[in-house]
Symmetry: C2
């Protein structure tokens, strides 16, 4: 017997009530029955996105919503600034270049957040720049970029702030309307606690203005068409019926917990993990500006991170994430996002302690676990 | 109590075993466990597509695979012939125009199949045409186009035959490699008996040659990148894990029944429905070249088709499809595709008989049902 524990930064565990909702017999998508489910999900999405704007629901991975954010707002030749501080920052630039935009790359060391002063300088020096593309949470490095500060820079310019919130929305506070984020995208398999297959995008009024003149070609990811269909409680093309049925259920669970409490829970899990890392002398990957979506730690010297992740998964049933690209084999990422609570975090830390000892890196059992418990106890009356 | 019966041409009913497979706890997509599921599904897809080529699996509706078929094979300014004999034929043209292709529209009356001689003439007159875009089964009109004959026309030209098989693959015989179809696309919520959210595309060697020089912009629907990832048992972007887990299960069910038997079943269901239509004096929408995906019949004079569909759905629990665009309120479409058998068809016909009588169009009870039974009895030893 080996029970499975999923603690990767997406896909994340799906609550039982959402799994069961998705296992219901199929219904047709052009019916009042489905429209009611769709409307409820669309309204609850606005709550989680903290916006009065429509949140579009696309049948795609999160990358589809990223592509849509570019092709619906820009024309070939338009200039944008891309914050490249990890694998997903790089993706913003690759999509932009695929559609003929001119990219000003701002490279940030993996694990670091971008300095708003650098963006301000780039904006001042390049007055034609029409967009700043950034991650709220860069999943590959577990760092968070300063979105509020960046929004203040783009607010009064002819420039949009386009934010990949794929591992940020529903994880930490990111009030779209209040801060002046122009585009916010996310995906179902993260804090939304669902299987992958749905992408979301919300646009500010300023962004919808840009949409009117954008000339990049598009068809499947046509935001204007989707907004029109959304008002009729449907999508332009056949919606992913079962995932949207699960979405309503998962969003209801978020609403019941309350967004504030959801943020507090993620924060507590992240702090507990960092306390455990400190107790176990593990160096953080993003110590200065960590995202509450996941905590990245460097694997101790002498331990092969790739083998460690495989051992944890295949021998212990605990799926964590390793590193990508040049961090491959060097880090562990312990996720906090979604349907994750006290004992999931304790499980991951206990498993790491056991695995370290098995790999010859001796640590006292319970040291990391105990440090995490100190903080996790806050969650109980 | 009102039980529900889904007989629309997509989404179609999902077999219990696939529903249960999709309700399993989430697993991470970059693991040997998921790769094994993915590989099995990808191999079984080749069986159903009747091809030796890879079948790409995309997280999207079928329209996404249609868009991919254009942006991966053509450049702005390229000329294509579009067979526009219904809502989905029109979509081929709209996507092509969105990406700057020059479209030669061949308009076909709704319910009719295209005449191959018309396509031959158009190809002869326009030697620069690099593609013929057509539906194997035009869902909006229940007509089938002559794919084998069209493939013979494109085979020896510098021109691809691109076939929307969304309601055709797994419904009737469409041997991709044998006939020389260059691109064949489909979607999960049709004969694949799954919820919507997955699209499929297979390309001939000739099509992959076109891919090398195609200049339309693309990122999310990048077929070359997907083919490379498929060989590593994965997808370029996060795959729709639960749907692919269900896909393997549904494809195993198709394999167990045997593709030949699947085709025979759909043919029997279609013939039975047509026999019932004849017994009830209902005029067929596509009498000359009907698709076995669904049978379209004109609603009798004096009966409001829109109200009829609503009555069947809301009062009787039987979801059929009405007409789209100018056929709205004028037709009924009774689907045969997917997880549909004898008693589903008898249910739909019995329900129509009851609804007709309720709507004042008097028909003898059991007349259509009996005519269908005569044919459906063939399915039993």
């Amino acid at each position: 017997m080996k029970k499975k524990y999923l603690l990767a930064p997406g896909p994340t565990p799906v609550p039982e009530r959402a799994l069961l909702a998705m296992a219901a017999p199929m219904i047709h998508h052009r019916t009042p029955q489905f429209s009611a489910i769709f409307r409820e999900a669309a309204d609850l999405l606005k709550y989680v996105f903290q916006t009065q704007q429509d949140v579009l629901i696309l049948a795609a991975s999160g990358t589809g919503a990223m592509e849509g954010s570019i092709v619906n707002l820009y024309s070939p030749g338009d200039e944008v600034i891309v914050v490249n501080g990890g694998k997903f920052g790089e993706r913003w630039g690759k999509i932009s270049e695929a559609y003929g935009l001119k990219v000003h790359w701002i490279t940030v060391e993996w694990g670091k957040a971008v300095d708003p002063a650098v963006i301000k300088k780039a904006l001042d020096e390049n007055p034609n720049v029409k967009g700043v593309l950034v991650q709220a949470s860069e999943t590959s490095t577990t760092a968070a970029h300063p979105i509020k500060e960046l929004a203040a820079l783009t607010k009064d310019r002819n420039c949009l702030l386009i934010v990949d919130g794929i591992t940020a929305v529903g994880v930490f506070d990111l009030p779209m309307d209040e801060w002046g984020i122009d585009v916010l995208v996310s995906g179902s398999q993260k804090a939304f606690m669902l299987p992958p297959g749905l992408a979301f995008a919300a646009l500010s009024e300023k962004a919808w203005k840009f949409q009117e003149t954008a000339k990049c070609p598009k068809f499947y990811f046509d935001f204007k068409k989707e907004r029109k269909n959304l008002k009729d409680n449907t999508t332009a093309y056949t919606p992913a019926v079962s995932l949207i049925t699960g979405l309503r259920e998962a969003l209801m669970q978020i609403k019941e917990e309350g967004l504030e409490n959801v943020f507090k829970r993620h924060d507590r899990l992240a702090r507990a993990t960092k306390a455990a890392a400190a107790a176990l002398d593990l160096k953080l990957l993003a110590p200065e500006s960590p995202s509450n979506a996941a905590t990245g730690v460097f694997v101790p010297e002498g331990v092969d991170g790739g083998k460690l992740v495989k051992y944890l998964r295949d021998e212990m049933g605990v799926t964590l994430a390793g590193g990508q690209d040049h961090l491959k084999g060097k880090i562990l990422r312990i996720a906090h996002l979604g349907y994750v609570d006290t004992f999931d975090i304790l499980t991951s830390i206990a498993a790491i302690e056991i695995a370290f000892n098995k790999f010859g890196h001796k640590v006292p059992y319970g040291k990391g676990v105990g440090a995490a418990q100190e903080i996790l106890a806050e969650g109980y009356k």
